[in-house]
Assembly symmetry: C2
Homo-oligomer: 142 residues x 2
DNA sequence: TATTGTTATACTCTATAACTATA
DNA sequence: TATAGTTATAGAGTATAACAATA
């Protein structure tokens, strides 16, 4: 048995990248099966809470003009809705419709590879992983 | 203190999604700063080892015709190279050039949010996280 | 017959630039 | 002046269909 040296941040990069890629591939496949691009899936997931166009574009790390087209297509499909903001007359608020919310839930539920992976973990592993994921999520949110 | 009930797979989905999103956003921003799209960055990272066009397309979860255009643009930029396969004359092998390999390393190194997050973890947390990420990565690889 | 890679086509994603309305 | 959203435009990503070469 080697000396019990704690791993460095660099030691974690590669395993983290693999896990992330596995998750993202699953999401892309499931979203595609519902006719959603990855961007649309990300937008729909972000729209659990209503957001302004500006905030949504920031969240998607894309230009505002891109968000316009993206949301316009999703609105034409009945997944989201734009309404004028009451506070700032320049601004619009985007909400997921009931159809949109339902689709978001279904996509999340149909990510079988991810679900299977998490269920394959032992209760002990899950208990150890949860606080670490919460920590990571907090630290990674810019 | 509440009863020590181990978390279910569902309890982990949301924290996992947040962590993944943080990682992926960081990657997209850094890749963009080098003029690479997310797809190109994914391809370049996948090309640590030479792959056939077919295998690469499978890896990127996209159609083969898409891989053709993607790799053609990267080849024009000198990041990758296509050579005929010696074993199967229908097939081509894609390799990252030295420029391509260097760029992949730089992108990985410049993901400062991810690095900072991993470095903010305590040695104990890192030691606990490493085997869990390896498990997850293995389970998520389809 | 099946598979690998490509081309042609059409649509979506994305950034830049220019514009209107509002702050 | 600065900001929110849109439109126009151009280049990149993506799937479908059809094709040539090879297995």
């Amino acid at each position: 048995m080697p000396a019990n040296v704690p791993p460095t941040a660099d030691d974690l990069i590669e395993p983290l990248a693999r896990a992330v890629r596995g998750y993202y591939d699953d999401l892309a496949v499931v979203a595609l099966s519902h006719g959603l691009s990855s961007s649309q899936a990300r937008a729909l997931i972000a729209l659990r809470e209503p957001l302004s166009m500006r905030t949504l574009a920031d969240h998607l790390v894309c230009d505002a003009s891109n968000a316009t087209g993206l949301i316009a297509r999703m609105e034409a499909r009945g997944l989201v809705q734009r309404t004028p903001s009451l506070e700032d007359r320049r601004s619009k608020v985007v909400c997921a419709t009931s159809d949109g919310k339902e689709l978001a839930l279904r996509i999340r539920a149909e990510m079988r590879t991810v679900h299977a992976a998490l269920e394959a973990l032992t209760p002990h592993e899950r208990a150890a992983l949860l606080p670490l994921l919460n920590r990571l999520g907090q630290l990674l949110a810019h």
